[in-house]
């Protein structure tokens, strides 16, 4: 379980998040939703120890993410940021192999190569494995980043907008694969997602943020309601039932 208490972030005195207190349960997929600038990435990167909070603390299974040795943390928690830029020119396979660093410290074993191969296949990148990242389309590159995080083989996986740039087919595939990782491998997956219907269709829980506050956290039926969504997104939303699933409509 990821727990955070009084977590707070301010830039030059301007609070952008919190203080928020809450938890992400072990197992399953939790989606974080909310409008632009709500503080989703801020919350996720602090949970992933990439951003120092102004106040408060984060623990994963009781261990403080900021004081635990970085290498141990990296074997338990992986995180993908919204933006990624690298100094060197890398091939897809090289990038994904970096995901094994916490386990092998750079000297890849047979086992590491197997993980890399599996992660590539998991995201249908086998054909592209020897291309340079700058020779890929945005969606292919996004899949390569996710493959790297999956190759890290951690219990907790935090993903900031993994569906960025993905087409319909690959979005569905990606969510199915994450679902499999959660169900078959017992991973705890936290992701930021903009399409509320996608979140509802594929995740177990939704955490909704607005203006740096957690508005509500709950299961799909608890969140997928007119008044809750209208409140979170500050836009009229109505929830319909399609094929037995709740679907939010907000085009009016």
């Amino acid at each position: 379980m990821i727990q955070f208490s009084d977590l707070h972030k301010a830039y030059q005195g301007d609070t952008v998040l919190g203080p928020v207190t809450g938890a992400i349960e072990k197992g399953g997929i939790t989606s974080i939703v909310g409008p632009n600038g709500a503080g989703k990435s801020t919350l996720l990167t602090m949970m992933g120890r990439l951003l120092d909070p102004t106040g408060g603390r984060v623990t994963i299974e009781g261990r403080d993410v900021f004081t635990t040795k970085s290498r141990e943390m990296a074997q338990q928690l992986s995180i993908l940021r919204q933006e990624n830029q690298f100094t060197a020119r890398l091939r897809v396979r090289e990038l994904v192999a970096f995901g094994r660093f916490p386990h092998s410290q750079g000297r890849l074993t047979e086992d590491d190569h197997r993980h890399v191969g599996e992660a590539l296949e998991f995201l249908s990148l086998t054909q592209l494995a020897d291309r340079y990242l700058d020779q890929l389309s945005g969606g292919q590159r996004q899949r390569a980043y996710v493959a790297m995080v999956l190759a890290q083989d951690t219990d907790y996986v935090l993903l900031d907008e993994p569906l960025n740039n993905l087409d319909m087919k690959h979005s569905v595939l990606m969510m199915r694969q994450l679902r499999r990782a959660a169900d078959e491998l017992g991973r705890t997956i936290v992701l930021i997602i903009h399409d509320i219907n996608f979140a509802a269709a594929h995740s177990d829980r939704i955490m909704a943020l607005r203006d740096g506050e957690i508005v509500t956290t709950g299961t799909i039926p608890e969140i997928m309601r007119d008044e809750v969504l209208t409140d979170v997104f500050d836009t009229p939303v109505s929830v319909l039932e399609v094929d037995g699933r709740p679907v939010a409509v907000y085009y009016s």
Binding site: F86, T87, R93, P102, Y132
Partner: protein, 362 residues
């Protein structure tokens, strides 16, 4: 900053040199993962793998060194050989220090334009020399030459760097760009101070000083070399031990932290090592602003991989080759041995400007 200065891919396999073993569902008749995508515009030959490229440059270095040591000796063999050996030793130290320092510095600062000298190192060296002449007169430079001065200069410069990093990293704005900006501003301040002091010098003092302010390989004495080699060996061992961690630093701070690298610690340790190397090389052979930049840029282009276990040796060997072959040519073809560093700086400076203008950013 995504940098794509490397030549187009030519070798069909990944730089790890291995193809992942067949994965679980590999029996569906898919083509093998590599080899299946050859872009048609590539030439048909296969470029040598990184290890072979490093070895080729290594052979070139050996050839150049043998030529430099043994050819065109007039008069006493022993005397000339000893002198050349000392110069060669200096060149090894200078090439090693500048090449390793620059590559490491560019990796930890996630850029491929800036070099350690932008941190104010060269200017600090110039200021120390100028201040010395100003206070004690031009003859003091020659009188105090030797190991103690070398060590003192190195310690001072490392101290400067460490204080700067400490101050900046302890502060609220632990930000690399700020660090670099402060480096530039301090460098300018040192430079202005130096040129102010230089105006006040007598022409003879100024003459003696200006000789020191250009890199020099040949007229250095050999007594410091054992120490220099020891420093290079120790720093080299520490850097080599971190070569895989350096690779992850190429992914930027966040990704490397995500992969379990203690980024802040690596940054501090590596920057101190960079400071030691540059300070030592500058105190030994004078400031060389663009030499490191030149060899690092060449190394990225020629190695064909991002891996530091190849890039670092490549940069060192390229640097050594540039110095040795350059010295050999200057001495025996152009009869202008003293101009080598001037020419290297000139070429390096032009490459620097071209890259900077082409990219427009850090």
């Amino acid at each position: 900053m995504p940098v794509s200065e490397q030549p187009p891919p030519a070798e069909p396999q990944s730089a790890t040199g291995r193809v992942a073993p067949a994965s679980r569902r590999g029996d569906r008749g898919e083509p093998p993962p590599s080899r299946c995508r050859r872009r048609p515009r590539l030439p048909r030959f296969t470029a040598p793998p990184p290890g072979a490229r490093v070895a080729i440059v290594g052979v070139l270095v050996v050839v150049a060194a043998v030529c430099y040591l043994l050819l065109f000796i007039r008069g006493s063999f022993q005397f000339a050989f000893d002198r050349r050996l000392t110069t060669l030793g200096t060149m090894v130290v200078v090439a090693f220090a500048h090449a390793i320092a620059t590559v490491v510095f560019q990796t930890v600062t996630s850029n491929r334009i800036l070099t350690p000298s932008i941190m104010g190192f060269d200017s600090l060296y110039v200021m120390m020399q100028t201040a010395m002449v100003f206070v004690f007169g031009g003859s003091a430079l020659a009188r105090t030459d030797g190991l103690p001065k070398l060590v003192v200069q190195t310690v001072l410069m490392v101290l400067f760097a460490v204080l700067l990093y400490r101050w900046l990293f302890a502060g609220r704005f632990a930000n690399l760009h700020l660090l670099l900006l402060v480096g530039v501003v301090l460098g300018l301040a040192f430079e202005s101070l130096s040129s102010f002091l230089q105006r006040l010098l007598s022409p003879t003092d100024y003459d003696m000083l200006s000789v020191r302010l250009f890199g020099r390989m040949s007229n250095s004495d050999g007594s410091y070399l054992p120490l220099a080699f020891a420093v290079c060996l120790v720093v080299g061992a520490v850097v080599w031990h971190r070569r895989h961690r350096l690779d992850t630093l190429l992914l930027g701070r966040d990704t490397s932290v995500g992969l379990g690298v203690d980024h802040k610690r690596e940054l501090t340790v590596l920057l101190v090592l960079v400071a030691v190397l540059v300070a030592f090389a500058t105190a030994l052979a004078g400031p060389m602003t663009f030499f490191g930049f030149l060899v690092a840029t060449l190394a990225y282009q020629l190695t064909g991989t991002h891996e530091h276990r190849h890039v670092l040796p490549m940069a060192f060997l390229l640097g050594l080759f540039t110095l040795v072959a350059g010295q050999f040519l200057m001495q025996h073809v152009f009869y202008a041995a003293g101009f080598l560093t001037v020419i290297i700086e000139f070429v390096g400076g032009i490459v620097f400007l071209v890259l900077l203008l082409r990219k427009g950013t850090l």
